[in-house]
């Protein structure tokens, strides 16, 4: 490829864009607020005397800055984003429109409850749908994300065990689990005991049964698991876990495969979080905000964190405090965050649910599973699958197909970028070598999937025909090329600083 150097630093539509600190002037502002005279300040001794050093941009500069930055991002709205376990589905714009209604966006969380009945109704309606879809009686709405939901679930389980007099010591986590699972259990004071996977990509049931004992507080299992496979022994596992006096926590990150098809509450699960930003289409926003409500049994619900919404003849109330000592009905563990949860995310998720209805929700999981299996069926001879199907909403490839090619999973992923695709989730789960966890979601048309499949077939053929150099160099068509991550970690530069000025006398 010919290296093209331009005079401006821009390359056609790819604009070089300096940091705001390199273009903003401290005296400039893009907002017109009047200068007010402070006659009677009540700030006191802690009033600011020094400059902060913040640059300002006028509105045209700021708009151009952020539009230019946006154009350096891949996005669902640009193309297929098969990032496994992240469920990068289409984010309907109606959700955004509804969330911006002043009746939802311009209300304060501590307004008198009589003035926010519609907001409480919205939360309660969503809660009813989520409980109904999962087959549980209770729900904690406040967790802010999936990992926060896990924390809520494990805290609730621990509170329930403590109420019985023994918090226990160990939590069993499969070796294929998301990293958040062991990190969460550790935050709740538990020791993590990893359970191996078997040759079919499922949890090794015999090993699990052997590890169960009177000191086990809970098992955390993802179903479908991170290999994209349904844990078929789940009902038996639940029975064994309960017989040992432990609780069954399910990581609901992959609920998109099951929504409308099966209710986890029917399978013996005690608690599960739902990532509203995955299954229920709220935008991922470059890394949040999400929401992670936790559905649970009525038994656990008594211990769930505050607050929660209740409905009575007089309308809706949000319960923010326990009634008092010794009241077993209100034995809720404390608050995990401020206010009532990710209300703006709830509005979007409820809008999505109402758009689909229960018939449409079932179609979501069916099409998601159909798309993943279609990719698997058409690529299994070109790439390599460590486990046989059928798959759920995602398919796991390993790097066996790259054996002897000098191309790694990372190289293959980077070549996908030059082809206009976001790579799959790579090197996760850890239970197979060089994983490429591929989740197309139900949003992709057959035409889109066919083009993706043909591209991956061609790339696999390139890899096998000795074109390793192309993969090693990829990506070349991006605003920047492969970045030096070692340098970033060894000499961390986490903020902009002005260029060193000549030493000046203080």
């Amino acid at each position: 490829m010919t290296e093209i150097t331009t005079h401006s630093g821009h390359r056609g539509l790819d604009m070089a864009e300096p940091l705001i600190f390199e273009q903003g002037a401290s005296g400039r502002s893009g907002v017109d607020w009047p200068e007010v005279e402070l006659r009677n300040s009540r700030i006191g001794a802690a009033a600011r005397k020094r400059s902060i050093g913040l640059p300002g941009l006028s509105e045209p500069e700021a708009v151009r800055h952020y539009v230019r930055l946006s154009q350096k991002n891949y996005a669902i709205d640009l193309g297929l984003y098969p990032l496994g376990s992240c469920t990068m589905k289409h984010n309907p714009r109606l959700n955004e429109k509804v969330a911006r209604l002043p009746g939802f966006a311009d209300i304060h969380p501590l307004q008198p409850m009589s003035t926010v009945q519609g907001a409480l109704e919205m939360i309660d309606t969503l809660a009813s749908w989520l409980k109904g879809l999962t087959g549980f009686d209770s729900i904690a709405m406040s967790p802010a994300a999936g990992a926060h939901g896990e924390l809520c679930g494990l805290m609730t389980i621990r509170a329930a065990l403590e109420a019985m007099g023994n918090a226990r010591e160990r939590v069993l986590v499969p070796d294929s689990a998301h990293g958040t699972n062991p990190a969460t259990a550790a935050l709740c004071g538990y020791r993590i005991d990893a359970v191996p996977s078997n040759e079919r990509g499922r949890i090794d049931k015999a090993a699990l049964l052997e590890k169960l004992g009177p000191d086990v507080a809970a098992i955390m299992l993802t179903n479908p698991n991170t290999c994209g496979l349904f844990e078929e022994d789940i009902v038996e596992i639940a029975e064994a876990v309960h017989a040992a006096g432990a609780y069954f926590y399910c990581d609901g990150a992959n609920f998109n495969a099951l929504v409308g098809k099966v209710r986890p509450g029917d399978l013996g699960i005690d608690a599960m979080h739902l990532n509203l930003h995955k299954t229920f289409s709220t935008p991922h926003g470059g890394g949040g905000p999400g929401a992670g409500p936790v559905v649970m049994t009525a038994e656990l619900g008594r211990f769930a964190p505050l607050p929660h919404v209740i409905k009575s003849d007089d309308g809706y109330t949000i319960v923010e405090h326990n009634a008092g000592e010794g009241d077993r009905a209100t034995n809720h563990l404390g608050r995990m965050r401020s206010f009532h949860g990710q209300a703006g995310v709830f509005v979007r998720a409820l809008t999505y649910i109402l758009s689909h209805g229960s018939d449409g929700l079932r179609k979501i999981s069916e099409d998601a599973v159909l798309n993943a299996n279609y990719i698997a069926a058409r690529l299994k001879d070109d790439l390599s699958v460590p486990y046989p199907g059928p798959y759920m909403h995602e398919v796991l490839f390993d790097d066996t197909f790259l054996n002897g090619t000098d191309v790694t999973t990372l190289d293959f992923a980077k070549a996908m970028i030059d082809e206009g695709y976001h790579p799959a989730t790579i090197y996760f789960p850890l239970v197979v070598h060089g994983a490429l966890l591929t989740e197309p979601t139900e949003s992709e048309s057959k035409q889109s999937l066919d083009q993706f499949i043909e591209t991956l077939k061609a790339l696999a053929a390139d890899a096998k025909s000795g074109k390793a150099e192309m993969f090693k160099n990829a990506p070349v068509l991006t605003p920047v090329r492969r970045l030096d991550e070692t340098r970033a970690a060894r000499q961390p530069v986490l903020r902009w600083r002005p260029a060193a000025l000549p030493e000046a006398a203080e």
Binding site: S26, L57, A186, H284, G286, D359, I417, K446, V493, L494
Partner: protein, 448 residues
Amino acid sequence: MRYLPHTETERGEMLAAIGVAHIDELFAGVPTGSMPRELFGPSTHKGEAEVERIMSAMAAKNTTAGSVPFFLGGGAYRHHIPAAVDHLIQRSEFLTSYTPYQPEISQGTLQMLFEFQTQVALLTGMDAANASMYDGASACAEAVMMANRVTRRKKAILSGGLHPQYREATVTQSHYTEFEVHAAPQNPLEAEDLAALIDDQTSCVVVQNPDFFGRIKDLKKIAGACHALGALLIVAVAEVVSLGALASPGEMGADIVIGEGQSLGNPLGFGGPYLGLFAARSKFVRQMPGRLCGETVDQDGARGFVLTLSTREQHIRREKATSNICTNSGLCALAFSIHLTLLGEVGLTRLARLNHANAVKLADRVDGIGGAEVINDTFFNEFTLRLPQPAEQVANELTARGVLGGIPVSRLYPGEAALENLLLVTATELTMEDDIEALAGALNRVLA
């Protein structure tokens, strides 16, 4: 269904390519039998117009802050959001991307995060900030756990002026992660001597500035007391606009600063999603929770940004991670950053002054009405009014008169007799003279 592209013909072709006759064969092994066919009755999918009608009807049942004289704060503030902010955060490439795991196609998000981290570090007077947390309360709990790791101690002291929900979130976490919390009494009418509570087992002292009751403190003395005994000072900032008028926590000796960033760029939104801010001195960076974006170069030597120091994080360290956080508040951080970029230092300073000037006007106007008394010597845009009767009752009567007049402290501290008559009242740049007169008039009648 408008979000699902396949026709039935295509579904059939795809099933054939897979080699199955029916979709249910792909769910073999999944016990689908117990799922009712018609959950919630024969509900079917709905068109945009119908869904919008249902949701709009719910929204219409709420009294919006913008429709009445409005004086609520308490950790959530109503500020003007420049039109460009909401337009820009809805750019597809920001809205519909995920955590920047592939930096070559995520430089937009990464550069924005680098700018955000720098803005937060400058505002708080810290060396470094992370890419955001869920909200102020959860950031507070994480900051205490970080201080415990840094000092290898397990006892935190919380000021009585800390937001009660930040305090509750920290107390909740302490029970599970097994550390001690000493929460000082919350009565703003009594003096607080935090320094006397610090001992050689104390990992940190957490103070809020301005505090929950609106008071502003010079923190240099408490910082000195912490450092003398090897403890860290954690400063919480629930109203980030105040940093346009106040000395930064770093300047006053803070080691870790956490905050709620909602005030810039993010609507009230009934309490979420909000934006947890988290900043610290550079020597503690490797103990920080959350994502960090760092500068580096690409293979051609061009500047670029990546997520870095990930060996702290759950996806690498699993149970040994500094936190379990994964998704944070990326889009809220973007809104914050755009708003602050538009303001610049000049705009932020003017905005802060305007807030303070309006609050001074409000305080001067309501002080003394019907026996109401402003208890603050100092405040920024929020202060506490001591009423001659329970504040909840007064707030409800004000509501009946069409004024959202403040937050009864008893909503957050129920059953505390000493706090029962306290009302938190806030003015921002959106508070107009008419609003102030409406509150004064209504208070006059309610307290008559």
